[in-house]
Amino acid sequence: MMEAQNWQLSNPILGLAVVGATFLLFYIVGFISNRKSASAKDLYIGGGNVGAFTNGLAMASTYMSLATFLGITALILKLQVPFIMLWIQLILAIPLITIIYGTSLRRMGAFSPTHFIRDRYGVTASIIAALFMILVSVMYALGQMIGIAITFETLLGIPYLTGLFVFGLLIVGYITIGGMAGATNNAAIQMVIIALMFIIPLGAIMKAIGASGWYFPPLFYADMVPAMLESLPTFFDYQFSPKWYFSIIPALTIGALGLPHLAMRVYTASSLKSARSAMVWFAFILGLVFSATYAMGFVGVFATTTEGLVISEGDADKLTIILNLVYNPEWVTALVIAGAISAGLSTLSGNLLAIGALISQDIIATLKPNIPQRLSLRIGFIAIFAGGLVSILLAIEPPAFLVVSILWAFGLAGVTNAPLIIVGVWWKEANKFGAIAASVVGGAVYIIVSPFVFPSIVLTGHGVTDGMGLSGAMLAVPISFILLIVVSYITNRMPSLQRRLTKQSDIELIERIHGWRDIKTYRYNSTLGAGVTVVVSAVVAIWALMPWGM
């Protein structure tokens, strides 16, 4: 039992039955929830009336991708504690989105972050931003699609392409039918499934290994620490320099602020108060499952170093499933697989809804603003479906990276969108020239220094660090902030460009989305604040260019 082997359910029918039952549930919920979708507003933000608890759960499950079950534990196996430290701060996404710009954009009534960019910076900047957002969302959706097909292939023995097309289309179908209302209710249900199917089986695994804290797996595994330290004394080592830990902030903390499918969850809230309560639920449930994930990674490393469990390099992604196959009865593993699929589904539905909103609202409706409501809604459904189809087709020849590509996409969102939204909400001087320069140049720098385009032009040469976009974002995110502020400041003072700027409507928009009914010149107009941001950004960018010593 303890040798390298082909990890698969011996009874795939069992797995299929459980997964089939969950799919049926999601279809029914999607259908019931979305019967009343009459407008694009209903389709994309669920009519803007989702309650705090449902929304908090939905936020958490939209965020928690298939990586929770498949990728993270593998990277804990590989990188150990540094990866856990990297993952912890991902919980900041929704709280920071909410306090920095989410409530403002909710007040504005935006469908997507790009919707704000259009009103704030005009059509050109918003289309550039929307194209980058679509790229980010497609990369994200692709990762989920591939992961789901691989799960079916390796665990249930369904050929990759069959699984991809059959389940891909089933998934895209239910998201299209359900719209945001369906996706939100389903995501809340999926969050419960994810939490139960991850944590309870983990408790059973810990009990089988002999851990006394099996009744609360997320935190009670201290009695395994001495054995771990004995067989793998380096497990808890930080390994990397403070610079590596710092680079997580621009890459992933700021990166998450640019992810459209997360921000859209804030806009579905029924009120600003409800959005703020949702972030409390989000933090609680996400912290619970994240902590359980670290425990699962810990148990995996523990089992391989002290219990003689052998997991080949190629099977590292399947750690969670393998632990269940080894220590739990098969029907439990079938439930865990359903949990993993739920995790992939909730993220995928968020991605596809974002793609749909970006294509139909931020590109088509921007170029052709006078489309009737019925046609706009129909285009919305088609765009969601098309986005799903594209991710299925792209997944036929999948790129080799799963989790890494998703984290790299965080950085791209952080470079091309987050600065535009953050500075745009808080500084009246930001204008379209600055926004376009920041998005285009910042995005180009980030792509050039990634290992995927010019493998020789990288900042650290440490594969995972460059591949996750940590080093690239530490350079490109500050460049993007600097360009946005400096270019805006200069162009605002060039008389020849005044005709092409929309200062008055920008000012009115900013006052309005912060809740003011009058206009005051002193508000959101701090040159000092902008200057400090430029100086801090410059220091970070220069630091990123200095040797990493890795």
Binding site: G48, V81, P82, I84, M85, L86, I88, Q89, I91, L92, P95, L96, T98, I99, I100, T103, R107, G109, L219, A222, D223, V225, F236, Y238, F240, S241, P242, W244, Y245, F246, I248, I249, T253, L272, K273, R276, S277, M279, V280, F282, A283, F284, G287, L288, F290, S291, Y294, W426, R512, H514, G515, W516, R517, D518, K520, Y522, R523, S526
Partner: protein, 89 residues
């Protein structure tokens, strides 16, 4: 003026607090600690606890203050005597 200042200061300080609480690993990478807590190395368990309960507590605080600042902005608006038709939905 008062509500505006509060809003800006709240956002800056709250953002800083969230980033700090979510990145305790960064602090330990600069100032390593060789001690145990609840049976785990401090440098392992404290970032995890802060990244869960610390962030959770901050969201409660941020929600309460955010709601209060909204109310103050509203009352400054009302003091202006502007009609309330553009009140947020």
């Amino acid at each position: 003026m008062k509500a505006y200042k509060k809003e800006v200061q709240f956002t800056i300080w709250m953002t800083a607090a969230f980033i700090l609480v979510g990145n305790v690993g960064l602090i330990f990478s600069v100032f390593p600690v060789d001690a145990m807590l609840f049976g785990f190395p401090v440098m392992y368990i404290v970032p995890i606890l802060m990244g869960w309960f610390g962030v959770f507590i901050l969201t409660i605080v941020a929600g309460k203050i955010g709601n209060r600042i909204d109310d103050e902005i509203d009352s400054e608006n009302d003091a202006l005597g502007v009609s309330s038709e553009v009140k947020d939905v």
